[in-house]
């Protein structure tokens, strides 16, 4: 099917290519007046409040076959230990900056200043992290490599991921999340565990990345 595709090889000139593509673009678009502006009459920031954002978030999460747990602010450490025990996950790593009261002795902190070695990460059977925020309507968790979230590899390679979400980190919808996030940080948006529908359009959970996603929602008032 390929008509060509052989490497251009000799005489390729990076500046010439750039100039030529830009010349073609300018000829094609002509002289356009400044943009007329985009009508943003869809539901934007604050326009989709939820009565019970935590409840909605948990409902949407479980729809994706992630498991949700809830606890009060002073019970996080013991709840995490309980969930991990339930799953029989013992070799746990945590990203740099995770609150010490959430962790247990024997867990290893990984990924401070240097990139973590993927093969070494593969030896852990679970990771516990925080998050930057979460989106109720879509059941999405956003990690932005901030404290307690670590390098992207840390929450990627181990087969099990437990995320702690504070209730005040849950925003109603996608526009609210975009408004709060810093675009220039490395980000991972997670909505349920890994999944594929590539075989006869049957959904199968767990391909690459953590095959099990558990979420602990921490409510202040409980």
């Amino acid at each position: 099917m390929s008509r060509d595709g052989s490497a251009g090889g000799t005489g390729r000139d990076a500046d010439a290519a750039r100039a030529e593509v830009l010349r073609r673009v300018r000829l094609a678009v002509g002289t356009q007046p400044p943009g007329v502006g985009v009508s943003r009459d869809y539901r934007g920031v604050g326009a989709r409040p939820a009565d019970d954002p935590v409840g909605l978030f948990v409902e949407r999460l479980t729809d994706y076959r992630a498991s949700a747990y809830r606890c009060g602010a002073d019970e996080v450490g013991e709840t995490i230990a309980g969930i991990l025990g339930e799953h029989g996950r013992t070799r746990i790593c945590v990203p740099h900056g995770l609150p010490a009261r959430w962790t247990a002795p024997g867990w290893q902190v990984v990924g401070g200043d240097a990139p973590p070695d993927p093969v070494a990460l593969d030896a852990f059977d679970g990771v516990v992290s925080g998050c930057a925020l979460a989106i109720a309507l879509t059941g999405t968790i956003v990690l932005d490599s901030g404290p307690g979230q670590g390098w992207r590899a840390v929450t990627l390679v181990p087969d099990y991921h437990l995320v702690v979400v504070r209730a005040d980190q849950i925003v109603p919808a996608v526009p609210d999340a975009i408004a709060r996030l810093d675009a220039t940080r490395p980000m991972t948006w997670i909505s349920g565990p890994s999944a594929t529908s590539d075989i006869e359009f049957d959904r199968v959970e767990g391909v690459h990345g953590p095959r099990t996603l558990d979420v602990l929602v921490v409510a202040e008032g409980r």
Partner: protein, 482 residues
């Protein structure tokens, strides 16, 4: 050969856009494949239903759609400005930007970068654009192995096959065929591997795991690139994308120049439109975003033209460049559902392929594709960025007829048929006479009720379609009798 470009400003695209077999012939072959039709019918019907449900959850869907279309039109109107802004932002954050006029140039850039990184193998995130430019073949010629890591792309690669759908490239294969491919092609696979999807997925995971952990170079496409900030985004489900984008120390992203978005805020529109249109989910499982060189990686961005500026030069056709590759139009198309993706002869199948491919290559290279449609309008209704595909098909049909006429100095069969039809329909008397004459057509197709072949010039129609036998009495004649 005459290439119709609208304006003589840009070169047509090359690579895996060109059909070895014209659509009518390929479609006629595909129509004889019952298995293919069953697979497609199941998949497209399933996703059509789910998509309607998830879209209905958003009461501002039409507003989002209009905003999506307007943002993309703004991008196309000021593409030079946004590309320069993107280049500046990516460079400022430690990335390197490369420009490629066509597939060959983009491939050469990537091959050079992989060699510089000292690698002989790359892991790949599923990407339409690298399929378009035939990157895997170019890497192979350069002595570099490319490992597709998306499950469907892996099935296609191991089966030495071509993708047939934008979202689910191996949709033409069923589980038994996939098991057979895995048993035959995967080194060290369990010879007793079964055909349950979960088992097959597990085999793919085991097959790719070590490669992810040790790969030095990854190649991806991009769903979005933000001019304002230099942020790149890749949207996926399996986690293979996260693996490729995160673990290797060198990341090379190839992106069509139309993929840029002006501002970070624009993602609030597209991250609502894309997952619901594509996989019918509220959000896809994983989205990765990065700006420049992050977390110790070296980052290269290759900006590709390959026929896009030629498409941009046609005001009636350029809206095809709004496409965000969601594949919603494929899943609602009665023609795609019956012929499958291979018949389109390009990496871009279905309704969007029927408008995008002939524009990227020049209509003369694909004169049949604009006719691969019923003009029913379902694709337009489903499109999250409101591309009026039917209108564009009609526009391209006119171009194809004109290009054909110029090339042969004779009217094409389509043009001849249409002008005869026009002449007949312009007079009630002539039209009635023609309908009466059609009765004669009843001698054709007496056995099956379907006419397999009509005489020229209508033979162009029946070459790839069967025509119903004309009615015993024309409708108009029935009216007269009453």
């Amino acid at each position: 050969m005459t290439v119709f470009l609208g304006l003589p400003t840009a070169s047509p695209g090359v690579g895996n856009l060109h059909a070895a077999t014209p659509f009518p012939t390929a479609a006629a072959e595909a129509l004889r494949d019952d298995q293919l039709r069953r697979n497609l019918s199941h998949a497209t019907r399933t996703i059509r239903g789910r998509r309607l449900q998830t879209v209905a959850e958003l009461d501002d869907w039409e507003q989002l759609r209009a905003a999506g279309a307007a943002i993309k039109d703004d991008v196309l109107d000021h593409l030079d400005r946004y590309l320069l802004q993107l280049e500046q932002a990516v460079t400022a954050r430690g990335g390197t930007v490369h420009w490629a006029r066509d597939a060959a140039e983009a491939n050469a850039i990537v091959v050079d970068l992989v060699r510089q990184a000292g690698a002989t193998e790359v892991v790949k995130v599923k990407s339409m654009v690298t399929a378009e430019i035939g990157l895997n073949e170019a890497l192979a010629r350069g002595g570099i192995g490319a490992v597709e890591t998306d499950l469907a792309e892996l099935i296609v690669q191991l089966g030495r096959d071509h993708p047939s759908h934008i979202l689910v490239p191996a949709i033409h294969r069923n589980r038994r065929e996939i098991r057979d491919i895995f048993r035959r092609e995967m080194v060290g696979v369990d010879p007793a591997l079964g055909d349950e999807p979960a088992e097959l997925v597990e085999a793919a995971r085991a097959h790719l795991r070590q490669r992810f952990l040790t790969a030095r170079v990854a190649v991806s496409g991009a769903n979005f690139a933000i001019a304002e900030t230099g942020t790149l985004a890749v949207v996926e489900s399996e986690g293979n994308g996260r693996m490729c984008l995160t673990l290797p120390r060198t990341l090379i992203t190839v992106m069509g120049i139309e993929k840029v978005l002006p501002s970070w805020r624009d993602l609030e529109v597209f991250l609502q439109l894309l997952p619901r249109s594509s996989t019918a989910e509220r959000m896809n499982p994983y989205t990765s975003m990065w700006t420049g060189a992050v977390e110790g990686q070296e980052f290269h961005l290759v900006l590709l033209d390959n026929g896009r500026t030629a498409t941009l030069a046609d005001p009636a056709g350029r809206a095809a460049l709004r496409c965000i590759r969601c594949s919603a139009c494929l899943n609602v198309c009665p023609v795609y559902e019956r012929t499958g993706g291979h018949a389109y002869g390009s990496v871009y199948p279905g309704p969007i392929g029927a408008v995008l491919t002939p524009q990227l290559t020049g209509v003369a290279d694909h004169p049949h594709l604009p006719f691969a449609s019923t003009l029913c309008g379902a694709c337009f209704d489903a499109c999250p960025v409101a591309i009026d595909i039917p209108r564009m098909l009609v526009h391209l049909r006119a171009q194809a007829v004109a290009a054909g006429a110029r090339q042969r100095r004779l009217p094409t069969s389509e043009a001849a048929a249409m002008s005869v039809l026009g002449w007949l329909m312009s007079s009630p008397g002539r039209w009635s006479a023609a309908l009466r004459a059609l009765w004669l057509g009843r001698v054709l197709g007496r056995r099956t009720g379907w006419i397999r072949r009509l005489p020229p010039p209508m033979s162009a129609w029946t070459r790839s379609r069967d025509a119903p036998r004309p009615p015993r009495r024309p409708f108009r004649a029935r009216g007269r009798r009453r």
